[in-house]
Symmetry: C2
Subunit: 413 residues, 2 copies
C-alpha cells in the first residue's frame, strides 16, 4: 500500500479520508497510461500495457494498490462504456447478416475449450468437478478486449469483426448456460426447468433488443428529444438506456456488458455526433480501470511452485489453441482469411474467466492453485490476443473480405 | 431498499451481485434527470430538481437507496469534474484581476456567518462548543452549486461570477482554518505552529498553481502532446493533471475540488475542443451523482420535533442573510449590482457544511438534532440560491458590468 504523509486535517475525515479517491484515480490511470505509452513504443497495443500496469501496481509486484470496491465499480463501468461505444459503431442490420455463422462460431468456440480444458485437468490428476469448472472458465470470450483492439485499429467494419462481435454476444449466453449446468452439477442437482427458463429469458432478451431495438429507438428518440427541456437530452436518454438495458441484461441472466452493447446497437442509427463525443470521454477515462483491473487480480506468488507454473503454461496453450480451432472451424464457411481472424479474435477471456474462477473458489470446488492458474490464463489470453489480431487482419485493414451480397451491391453502384 | 426479484445465477455473484452497479446508476441518474425535467418545466433550475431527487429517493422519503461508498465516490468525482470544467472555462488572469475584492468578500463572508450562527445557537440555549461548530459549518460556500448555475446560464464571463469563483476558492482555505481552530478548541488545545503551517501550505499551493499553472501548462502541454504515442494524449494529460492537483490539494489541506478547479484553470488556455468535449461527457454523467448525493443525506424524520423544525428555519434564514450581507458588503466596491450578485452567489453551502456537520457528530460535539439541522441548512441554501442567482444577474445575462480596464479595452478596439 502507498504510504504517504497526510499532514492535513481534512485527510482524517471519512474512513480513509478525502485523499482516497484522487489517489486511486491518479495511481491507476497514470500507471495504465504510462505502460500504454511504453507498450506503443515497443510496437505493442496500448491495452496490453494497461493490463500489465495492473499486474505491476497490484499486490503481486509493487503492492501499491489492491482490488477494492471503488476500483471494481470503475472497472465494471469501464467495460459497460467500452461495449456501449462499440455497439454505437456497429450496425445491428450488419450483425444480423452474419448471425448464422456467428452462432456456429459461438457453439464450436464453447464446446472445444470446455472439452479441452476439462480433459487437460483430468489428465493432470484433478478431481472431475474441478476439471469441469476449469473447462467452464475457458468458455466465454471477453468481447471487451477484442472490441477495444478492433476499435483502436479501425477494424470494426470488417466482416470478421462483425462475426466476432455477434459470436461473442451469443457465446456469453452459452457461457451462462454452461456455468449454470456446471454449478448445478457441482451442487449435486440439476433443475432442467430452471435452466430452460434461464436460457429462454437470455435468448429472448438478446434477440428482441437486437432485432427491434434500433427501430424502436429510431422512433422514440426524436420524439423525446423534441419534448425534453433539460440540457443534453439526447445524452441523458442514451445513458438511461445504457443503464436500463445493462440492468435488464443482468436480470435476464446475461452479463451487464451485453446489455450495454445492445443499448449502443439500438442507438447506433439515431445517435448524433454530440452524444458520441460525450460517451467517448467516459470510455477514455473508465476503460483503463477495466484493463488495469484485470491485471490487478493476478497472483504471481502461486507460480513459485513449478507444478502450478507448468499447468498455467499448458492451460494457456489449451485456451489459445481450443478457441482458435473451435471458432476458426465455425467461421470456415466465410473463407480461410476470415476463419483465421475470427479464430484469433475470440481468444481473449479477460474478466469472464476470472468471474467463473471466483465462483469456483467460493463454492470450494477450485483450489487456490487452480484459481491462480485460471486467472493467469484469462489475463495471458487477453495480453496475447491483441498482438495476433493485427497481423491476422493483414495489410487490407479496412474491410477484409466482403459478404457476397455486399460485394454485389458495391458492383451495382 | 429496492426489492427486485433476482432470477438469474449471475445475480448471486459478488457481495451484492452484478445488478448492483447498473441498478444504482439507473436509479440515481434517471431520478435526478426526471426531477430536473420537472424543475425546468416549473421554471426552476434543473439542479434544484436533481438535489430534490436525492431527498426523494433517499432514506427519508422513498427509501430506494441510501448513501453508500460507490455513490459517494461518484459524487466526489462529479464535484471534481464540475469544478475542473468550470476552471477550463475561466481565465486565471481574469480571476487575478478581481483577487483583492474576492479576498475581502471571502473574509467578510466567513466572519459574518460564523458569528451569526454561533450567536443563534447560544441564544437557543446550545452549549458553547456546539454553537461554535454550527457556526463553523456555515462558513464555507459550495462553489460547485454556484458554478453549475452560472455555467448552465452562460454567466461565467461576468465580473461578479469571477469574484464569486475566486472568493469561493479563498473561502475554502479560510474555512479549513476556521474548522482547524474550532476542532482544536473542541479538543482543548490549540497548536498555533501546526495551524500556521497548514495555513501556509494551503495558501502557497493555491497561489502558486493559480499564478504559474497556466504558464507552465502552456509550455509543457504542447511538448508532451507532440511526443506521446498513445491515443487521446491531450485528454490523458488533462486527466492526470486533474487527479494530481486534486490529490495535492488534499495533502496541502484544501478540498480536492479546489485542486480540480486549479487544474482546469491551468489548462484553460492550452486545452483544445476535443478535450473539452470529452471532459463534458464525464461531468454530464457524474454531476447528477454529486447533486443527488447532497439530497440523499437529508433526514426529514428529525423535523417531526417542532423545536428542531423551528431551529432549522431560523438557521436557514441566518445562513442566507449572513452570507448575503457579509459577501455583499465585501463586494460593494464593485457597485451595488455586483454586490447583489456576489451576495446571492455565495449563499449555497452544499457538501461543505455537511462535511463539517459529520465531523462535529463524530467528535460528539453535535447532537443528532443539530446535525440534521445543519444538513438541512446546507441543502436548503443550495436549493434556494439558484432561484435567486438568475434574477440577480437580471436581463443583461452575458457579462454584467465590466471592469474599468476591460471597458476601456473594449472601447479601444
Amino acid at each position: 500500500m502507498l504510504n504517504v504523509i497526510t499532514p492535513a486535517l481534512w485527510v482524517s475525515l471519512g474512513s480513509n479520508g478525502p485523499a482516497r479517491i484522487p489517489l486511486a484515480m491518479l495511481v491507476v490511470f497514470v500507471s495504465a497510461k504510462l505502460m500504454a505509452e511504453a507498450a506503443e513504443r515497443l510496437g505493442q497495443p496500448g491495452l496490453v500495457g494497461e493490463i500489465l500496469a495492473g499486474v505491476l501496481i497490484g499486490p503481486s509486484v509493487l503492492g501499491w494498490i489492491a482490488p477494492n470496491e471503488l476500483l471494481s465499480a470503475l472497472a465494471d463501468l469501464g467495460a459497460m462504456f467500452l461495449l456501449f461505444r462499440v455497439g454505437l459503431e456497429v450496425k445491428s442490420s450488419e450483425l444480423m447478416k452474419v448471425g448464422g455463422v456467428a452462432t456456429l462460431v459461438a457453439c464450436c468456440g464453447v464446446a472445444v475449450p470446455l472439452l479441452m480444458g476439462t480433459a487437460l485437468l483430468i489428465g493432470w490428476g484433478a478431481p472431475a468437478k474441478e476439471a469441469v469448472f476449469v473447462g467452464a472458465s475457458m468458455v466465454a470470450t471477453s468481447v471487451g478486449i477484442t472490441a477495444q483492439t478492433l476499435s483502436a485499429n479501425g477494424l470494426l467494419d470488417a466482416v470478421a469483426s462483425r462475426i466476432i462481435l455477434a459470436a461473442a454476444v451469443i457465446d456469453d449466453v452459452l457461457g451462462l448456460l454452461v456455468l449454470a449446468v456446471v454449478s448445478s452439477v457441482t451442487h449435486g442437482k440439476v433443475d432442467f426447468l430452471q435452466l430452460g427458463l434461464t436460457a429462454l429469458a437470455a435468448v429472448a432478451f438478446t434477440a428482441i433488443v437486437a432485432t427491434w431495438g434500433t427501430h424502436a429507438m429510431g422512433r422514440v428518440a426524436p420524439y423525446l428529444h423534441a419534448r425534453l427541456k433539460i440540457a443534453e437530452a439526447p445524452f441523458v436518454m442514451a445513458m438511461s438506456l445504457l443503464f436500463a438495458l445493462s440492468l435488464a441484461a443482468v436480470y435476464t441472466g446475461v452479463a451487464a456488458i451485453v446489455g450495454a452493447f445492445l443499448a449502443g446497437l439500438a442507438l447506433g442509427e439515431s445517435a448524433g455526433e454530440r452524444e458520441r463525443h460525450l460517451t467517448q470521454g467516459l470510455s477514455e477515462l473508465l476503460v483503463p480501470f477495466f484493463l488495469a483491473g484485470i491485471g490487478l487480480h493476478v497472483d504471481l506468488s502461486a507460480f513459485t511452485h513449478p507444478g502450478t507454473a507448468a499447468l498455467a503454461v499448458l492451460l494457456l496453450a489449451a485456451a489459445v489453441v481450443s478457441k482458435f480451432i473451435g471458432c476458426g472451424l465455425g467461421a470456415l464457411p466465410m473463407g480461410r482469411a476470415n476463419a483465421l481472424r475470427v479464430g484469433v479474435g475470440m481468444i481473449p477471456r479477460g474478466e469472464v474467466g476470472m468471474i467463473v474462477a471466483q465462483m469456483g473458489l467460493s463454492f470450494g470446488v477450485l483450489s487456490h492453485a487452480s484459481y491462480a492458474v485460471v486467472v493467469f490464463m484469462s489475463v495471458a489470453t487477453t495480453v496475447v490476443a491483441p498482438a495476433l489480431i493485427k497481423p491476422a487482419y493483414g495489410a487490407n485493414e479496412r474491410g477484409g473480405e466482403r459478404l457476397p451480397e455486399e460485394a454485389a451491391a458495391l458492383r451495382a453502384e
